[in-house]
């Protein structure tokens, strides 16, 4: 059982997301994260799904996804050389004074940006792989994380290779 990253190219039609997510819940597959948005081809969207399962389960997920009429292509890029990123927005307690300075220091180590400063809080924006965001969140907990929003992972292959509609 390990996380798999699936890149799913779909027709940008109403209901396509519920077709995809409905399939996961119906067949008892677990989604760890899901990110969706339009992509380079007009009329299509790309969904990046991270799901956990053994090889047989993942094979079923892919086959079942492929059966959906609006799904153009499914690629399991877990074994490929790829770049993965996730964006998180974190609202942290930061009273003016020492803790605020510490938070700013931590932010700069993680290459996070402070995108909002309030009287009692700051908002950090950080992009990176899941581990990096987890690590930053852990460090910030001591100051009190008031709200945390994550986009879910997106991934792209390194080099010239692409995940395209050849199906």
């Amino acid at each position: 059982m390990k996380p798999h990253t699936l890149s799913v190219l779909v027709e940008n039609k109403p209901g396509v997301l519920s077709r995809v997510t409905g399939l996961f819940s119906r067949r008892g597959f677990n989604i760890e994260s899901l990110a969706v948005g339009t992509c380079e081809e007009s009329g299509t969207s790309r969904i990046t799904i991270v799901c956990i399962g053994d090889d047989a389960q993942i094979e079923q997920v892919i086959k079942q996804l492929n059966k959906l009429i609006d799904v153009i292509k499914v690629s399991d890029i877990t074994e490929n050389d790829r770049v993965e990123r996730e964006l998180a927005l974190i609202k942290v307690n930061a009273d003016p004074g020492s803790s605020r300075a510490e938070i700013m220091q931590i932010a700069s180590i993680f290459r996070a940006h402070i995108i909002d400063v309030g009287t009692k809080t700051v908002v950090l924006s950080v992009a990176g792989d899941t581990e990096k965001i987890d690590a930053l969140e852990k460090l910030l907990r001591q100051y009190g994380v008031k709200e945390l929003v994550r986009t879910g992972r997106i991934a792209i292959l390194r080099g010239a290779k692409t995940v395209k509609s050849s199906k």
Binding site: G15, S18, R19, G22, K63, Q64, K67, L68
Partner: protein, 558 residues
């Protein structure tokens, strides 16, 4: 200028539709108004569920797409069981539903239900048409998706304003469907087929395990030729009955929970299972890890998701059964006979025949046997679900594909009677029987109104035991005979039939079975036969849930 409703009717006719089953209502008024002048035949059912089952029965009997129509909200919701039934058995139907006007969508308007949302998990695909301009192409696409690849139900939801809007529209001459996300594979991979043939040549105890996919792809002829050429025995699933004539020397009948002992023993001892158009369903395999545990497995299916879903497969072949079987026939040079294996199977057949007590009591198996003898392989036999279904599968001798119609995957009680109506419109030349139980017949008994109205000559043979028989059987065997809510009070079905203007006979004596069946067959219109059968007869042999399929109980008497 054409309304959406007109485009719909024209679109259906362009797909070759002649008969549809439906029930009118508020938002489909514009469609019904268009139907009024059209040459399409519309059969008014008495409940929308029956419209879906009738479309399904039509599709299974004919191999063509069946069509049903219902209004929004309750009408659409009533179709759901029928759509799910078709989905589980991969039956091509197109369901048309009315919807509230687009301006009211999502507003909890009167008779609004999110039918595309509701049917998402039980359709192959569905559409909510928001522009009249799209309708013509959606119809084409829906029929294409329904009848190609692994067939299945497709639903089109039509808001009222889409039906009423007038546009200038001509159907394109060449309206080809090209879906980049949907390109089914028909031709099997050549090297995989070679590998399969190699395995067949190496095997000593090969066995064909055949399912509904062979019926759906009209591949029975190829199957029988290949089986005969190689002398390989054939067992079929419930859905595969009729793929090989029941009395063919290579036929072992049905396998699985209520299969024959010889079929289940053959699976257990086989060293090569050639599985075609099947899905290793739990009612077939019993305990999975003991199922065909000595065998290597070849699996041919048009749906790649079925291959390796339940059981590890040695040679997967994605493709249409007919095409793959044709390729195999063309490639196999050497003829082989499996003498030892055949004689082993023959000895099981001798030792464990399908039997029930011959004691002069009116037993349901006897009724089926008599009907089978009278029809001699002809006719279309439809069943309800439960004991009636299993006895028919066990004791009726099917000789042709598409002569047996039953709800396999979903096991829908109440399916048989309306499906039989649909089957009649597909095969008007054939006598159509619905083998029913008193429980399941009462689930869609209102369709007596429809068969009477149109004089649809469906013959209903009720195996009336005043029990929900299959559940009662399980209660007897596994719940200490505690018959919790499975006993039904007596019903005079002949009187009910008479009230609808339909003739019927009650049969209480073994000696009257044959003449009653004859009367039903010879009567022109619909007919109801009420057989008062032995109340606590069981379906044997039987594999208890979760057991290995060679661990069967009952059904064998010295």
């Amino acid at each position: 200028m054409k309304t959406g409703a007109k485009i719909l009717i024209e679109g259906l006719q362009r797909e070759g539709v002649e008969t549809i089953f439906g029930y009118p209502g508020g938002v489909v008024l514009p469609i019904y108004d268009e139907l009024y002048n059209s040459s399409l035949r519309h059969i008014l059912v008495r409940h929308e569920q029956a419209a879906a089952h009738a479309a399904d029965g039509f599709a299974r009997a004919s191999g063509r797409v069946g069509v049903c129509l219902a209004t929004s909200g309750p009408g659409a919701c009533n179709l759901v069981t029928g759509i799910a039934t078709a989905y589980m058995d991969s039956v091509p139907i197109v369901a048309l539903t009315g919807q509230v006007p687009t301006s009211l969508l999502g507003n909890d308007a009167f008779q609004e239900s999110d039918i595309t949302g509701i049917t998402l998990p039980v359709t192959k695909h569905n559409y909510l048409v928001k522009r009249t301009e799209d309708l013509g192409h959606v119809i084409r696409e829906a029929f294409y998706i329904s009848r190609t690849g692994r067939q299945g139900p497709v639903l089109i939801d039509l808001p009222k304003d889409v039906s009423t809007k007038e546009i200038s529209y001509e159907f394109p001459e060449n309206d080809e469907v090209n879906l980049r996300g949907y390109q089914p594979t028909y031709k099997g991979h050549s090297r995989q087929i070679d590998k399969a043939i190699e395995m067949i040549m190496e095997a000593e105890r090969p066995l064909f395990y055949i399912g509904g996919g062979v019926i759906a792809s009209n591949a029975s002829e190829e199957l029988v030729r290949l089986a005969e050429m190689l002398g390989i025995p054939v067992t079929t699933t419930l859905m595969g009955l009729g793929a090989i004539p029941c009395d063919h020397p290579l036929n072992l009948g049905m396998l699985g929970m209520h299969g024959t002992r010889f079929a289940n023993y053959a699976v257990t001892e086989s060293d090569l299972l050639i599985s075609i158009g099947v899905r290793f369903d739990d009612r077939v395999t019993g305990k999975l890890d003991t199922f065909a545990s000595q065998a290597r497995i070849i699996h041919v299916d048009i749906d790649p998701a079925e291959i390796g879903k339940n059981k590890r497969v040695d040679v997967p072949i994605v493709g249409d059964s007919k095409s793959v079987l044709q390729d195999m026939l063309a490639k196999i040079q050497k003829k082989k006979t499996y003498q030892q294996w055949q004689s082993r199977i023959h000895s099981w057949k001798e030792k464990y025949p399908m039997k029930y007590p011959q004691d002069g009591m009116l037993r349901p198996q006897f009724v089926i046997e008599q009907l089978s003898e009278l029809l001699d392989g002809e006719g279309v036999i439809v069943s309800e679900v439960g004991q009636n279904q299993m006895w028919t599968a066990q004791y009726f001798c099917f000789r042709h594909p598409r002569s047996w119609i039953t709800s396999g995957g979903l096991g829908t009680m109440g399916y048989g009677f309306p499906a039989a109506m649909g089957a009649h419109f597909a095969r008007p030349d054939q006598v159509v029987f619905d083998i029913a139980g008193d429980g399941s017949f009462q689930m869609n008994i209102q369709e007596l109104g429809t068969v009477s109205h149109y004089q649809i000559p469906v013959k209903v043979a009720i195996l009336n035991n005043r029990f929900l028989g299959m559940v009662r059987q399980w209660q007897e065997l596994f719940y200490d005979r505690r018959y919790s809510y499975t006993e039904l009070p007596p019903v005079d079905f002949v009187k009910i039939a008479n009230a609808y203007g339909i003739d019927g006979i009650r049969v209480e004596d073994c000696g009257d079975v044959r003449s009653a069946l004859k009367t039903a067959i010879e009567t022109d219109g619909p007919f109801v036969l009420d057989f008062r059968v032995e109340r606590e007869e069981n379906v044997f042999p039987m594999v208890p849930a979760g057991a290995a399929i060679n661990e069967m109980i009952g059904g064998y008497t010295e």
